[in-house]
Symmetry: C2
Subunit: 357 residues, 2 copies
């Protein structure tokens, strides 16, 4: 197999490394996803596809006119959706590991996989290592609101987080939001169970104080409650991976419950069924807005290279959305911006604890 | 003032002590709420209303034919919505404290207040003390799902919880669900970020093992993820007060976001506005199902007496819903059931730690 992605392209083109085998459906979804993405992406980006060519080949036709922008790098090894992280990291020739390796070797700007989260995080950490000044990577999710798109992190990489880690997440999340959503000065909040200073865990209170004290170049708004995430008054919501994961999945569950109520109400009677027909266009638009694939792509932040995790059960449209996020990250000054604020944090860390507390 | 509620009623009638002054609107909401509740409640329950009679009097007319079931107990003192718990517990003659006192003295079966949560919990703990065998009380919320109504606890009383506390919450939540929702054998799950045994905090893993090992009379289903709450596959969801509060508020926020999308989609064009007219009845039913007042009433569990906390910003319908929950609790064998399972837990606690771990 080749490890020289984009060998047919000019040097200043951008490459996205794609684990073609990841996700519940593998190439059946990832390759049509690549096709959808390339159809709407600028012409400066190409795809390096890692995976089993016998399984990839049947789906290459979906690329149509975009086929020249895709290079296939064969490997027969794949990471199973239920494979333990400890096992996955031992196998260096999986489609997942090779996609990460392409980022490490800078033959790709970013990697995308719909493979299992635990394995992908372990493989990415081993391959890319954490950024200087970052203790642990975090998974950042995009969250819709009436104000546009917010960012929530961590949504699952770290069950418990220190105040210092939360501050690192704030720095990374703020840079991520600017990179992907283009707002010059995103607002940042810490997820808590009240907005008063006395509420919450010690680590959250300490994190708030740290952010305020160390003069970060950041529009920090203090504590945000759970309902504040969807209200969108704050662009970046920082939390530990346990709380963030529960919040994300709870919101998904609530959305499904409401969709259930809507279906039920519209099929209750002849009159309501007629109303459903009249509302067909409207209901379709609502459904599109609630479509989880629209905001697909948890981004691993804090590694020496960006990795985007697509939902394992996504469809082609959702996989294309993950590729779009990856592309935005690849075009951004994300790493430089984080480094700038991390330096400010390091200055404070150097001080004796008393002066921080 | 009188501290003998229900002095005009026969001995086997049930009394609910109501803090008439609690909530953002006070008697303007609580008394019409009492009226709505009494209109549909069985005739075996009366209301003891605690508060400032000059403020109560103007609203008594809303009771109409039910006025004979309501006794007013005057006190001029009230707990402010932003009053610190430490301050609230020092004032023994507030409408809140007197409602709790009525439960303590068994002149009322249960107390209801829309006052501030922190103050109410502090006053209730001081007045009623925790049940034998219970370390800390919890706040239990009702949560709608396609399967009916679930119970989630703790949603805010305890920021951090030990494994033993989580097991106590499981026992209390299960008894609560049976008391209020009438299912003979509610299923119980622990909120976590995955369903595998290796996932989550140590305390959660220890709690799961404790429940399994100590032979509780409980249908325990292991770990449940955030989206599982609204799916309703598990009746009782147990978590610490930080995570539970974030989950509850996040779901409320998600519901509001979706309502926003629906409004937006139905007002986009002339055609969508016409569809909205055709859907008026359906949309009204959906709105009713999502109405937070329908599930109003966080219940304080684990004290020597039941206290129901209504949402501070509720309307009369919501306050009536809180009274209904209180009434169901008062009619149940809640305390006896908890005691039964707590005894089993005590047996295990007596063993050396090794045999539990």
């Amino acid at each position: 197999m080749s490890t020289q992605p984009g060998q047919n392209s000019s040097r200043n083109r951008l490459h996205i490394a794609v684990d073609a085998m990841g996700g519940d459906a593998g190439p059946e979804v990832t390759i049509p996803g690549v096709a959808l993405f390339l159809d709407q992406a600028a012409d400066d980006v190409d795809i390096s596809l890692f995976g089993d060519k016998t399984q990839i080949q049947p789906h290459m036709a979906s690329l149509q006119a975009q086929a020249h922008r895709v290079t296939v790098h064969h490997t027969a090894e794949t990471v199973a959706m239920d494979e333990k992280p400890a096992q996955a990291i031992r196998r260096r020739e999986t489609s997942m590991a090779l996609a990460i390796k392409a980022v490490k070797e800078k033959t790709a700007a970013v990697a995308v996989s719909a493979g299992n989260t635990g394995a992908l995080m372990a493989v990415a950490k081993l391959g890319l290592r954490t950024m200087p000044g970052i203790d642990r990577p975090a998974i950042c999710a995009s969250w819709p609101s009436p104000e546009g798109m917010g960012a929530v992190l961590d949504v699952g990489a770290n069950v418990e987080c220190s105040a210092e880690q939360l501050v690192e997440f704030a720095i990374m999340g703020e840079a991520f939001h600017r990179a992907v959503h283009g707002k010059a000065k995103p607002t940042v909040g810490l997820l808590n169970i009240g907005t008063e200073d006395v509420k919450g865990h010690d680590e959250i209170k300490r994190a708030a104080k740290l952010i305020r004290d160390c003069g970060l170049d950041m529009d920090f708004r203090g504590f945000v409650e759970g309902d504040g995430i969807s209200l969108g008054h704050t662009d970046v919501i920082v939390t530990d991976g346990f709380t963030g994961n529960v919040a994300l999945k709870t919101a998904e569950g609530a959305a499904r419950l409401i969709a259930h109520y809507v279906r039920e109400a519209y099929s209750e009677s002849v009159a309501s069924k007629m109303a459903a027909v009249a509302s067909m266009g409207v209901l379709k638009r609502i459904k599109e807005r609630l479509d989880p694939s629209r905001v697909n792509g948890g981004v691993f932040l804090g590694l020496n290279g960006v990795v985007v995790k697509s939902h394992g059960g996504t469809d082609a449209k959702g996989f294309a959305a993950a590729l779009t996020v990856a592309n935005q990250m690849a075009h951004s000054q994300f790493a430089d911006e984080i480094a700038k604020n991390l330096n400010r944090l390091e200055d404070v860390r150097g001080l004796p604890t008393e002066s921080v507390m």
